[in-house]
Subunit: 232 residues, 2 copies
DNA sequence: ATAGAATCATGTTTTAAAGCACAAAAGTAC
DNA sequence: GTACTTTTGTGCTTTAAAACATGATTCTAT
């Protein structure tokens, strides 16, 4: 089947992990209620304070979840890659969104009304388990992140972000990290100012850990990078 | 009924929130499998790397969940108060513990084998919802915390910790915060060194926001404290 | 093609917080 | 009670990272 977004068929072919857990009746419920939405590069998907109404599944593109902190500084909390669910935490906590979400690049999202999700969860223990597991994993990551962002030094924090990007989006054949971020986004991911992100990247180039070509980051010495990340 | 820990009756009277969601059969299953455990002040409850086997519910006392970071610095991730469940994240994520837990003061914990918990969850949607909600709330707190600990200045971070302690453990009639922490623990909660915790506390006393008597912290101007916390 | 904006880069200055040193005080053990 | 350890309190020094300033480069829109 051709990749052609906007077509509801993407949805049923792409949501595989969850899809497998559903019976025909539940699948029909989803087909009837899910909607596909496209977002342009840098377009906001939801904002802090909004009421959560839909479960979202990223089908294509890259999304960042971030928070605007004190004094305009923003902090990227997590990044979403295709076939990953997001935007459900606030609903389950019975809160409004605490974070903002925006598309890094042109992205396609499948929106499922939370009402539908609940209807399915009620009778499907596997779906409940799925959310419990995802939330548990994310909470673990958040706890790790808290310590890493507060205790590691600049080099360690940047190295950690790069390692995270490698793990999330992978490397191309020539060892280029498969996502192109501005220096500012890289800084917001690593809890530092843009100048320090630039400076520290330059250091890494000097140390022959990476090579740069605009926003392309080529990983030269991954082992070393992970060591810097680990030792802080 | 007398408060008398070690007696299985505490358990059934205290776990009320969850207890209400169970039918008689499920209650019997819990009664048969739950165990009560006592921990002394500063005693470790679980350690990073341990395999999670039991759901824990704090019946009495105060517990800290923390992580040992780089260079011996430890960071308190969250604090548990009585009738709060903990220690389940790692199991649900199918990981070993990422954190350590220790009793702040003499504490009583009810241990329920995870196997039993799963057995109940399987047929009880309300229990699933309970965990989903708790995890979602905790994840929201963790996200907030990441930004607060990284972006706020020392005064803001300490004020935030004090506000958090007020919210968690309450104030006595004379406005004393109902938990006594060492300066070091306060520092670990606020992501700063012990000297800075001491210094900043002294500043707050000077500003007539709090008054100190050993480890007793009396809140003089709560509004001001929350303002400092908010503005960073 | 050209103007204007955004991004990237680098040097310099400032500052918030850590690190260190050393007492005083409070707990704890014998 | 006395010795020992831990915790608390303060002053001084150092340092990592932010803030600021200024160009160069790249992107974007008309």
């Amino acid at each position: 089947m051709q990749e052609k977004s906007g077509n509801i068929m993407d949805f049923s072919t792409n949501l595989k992990e969850v899809w497998r857990m559903l019976n025909e009746e539940e699948r029909e419920l989803l087909r009837a209620n899910a909607a596909i939405q496209h977002y342009k590069k840098n377009q906001q998907i939801y904002a802090e304070g909004d009421e959560p109404t839909h479960l979202m599944c990223l089908l294509k593109g890259k999304v960042k979840i971030y928070k605007e902190g004190v004094g305009g500084r923003s902090q990227i909390i997590r990044m979403i890659k295709p076939i990953q669910y997001f935007a459900y935490r606030a609903y389950f906590a019975r809160e409004h969104y605490l974070t903002d979400a925006a598309a890094f690049e042109a992205s396609t999202v499948c929106l499922i009304p939370m009402k539908t999700v609940r209807q399915i969860m009620k009778n499907n223990y596997n779906i409940c388990k799925f959310f419990i597991r995802q939330l548990s994993i994310d909470l673990g990551i958040a706890d790790e992140r808290t310590v890493n962002l507060t205790q590691k030094h600049i080099r360690g924090r940047l190295a950690e972000s790069l390692a995270f990007l490698i793990d999330s989006y992978g490397l191309e054949e020539d060892a280029t990290i498969n996502i192109y971020l501005s220096r500012e986004d890289l800084a917001n991911l690593s809890n530092m100012t843009t100048s320090n992100a630039i400076r520290t990247l330059a250091n890494f180039v000097n140390d022959k850990v990476i090579a740069l070509d605009g926003r392309k980051i080529k990983v030269i010495d991954e082992e070393r990078l992970r060591k810097i990340s680990k030792l802080g």
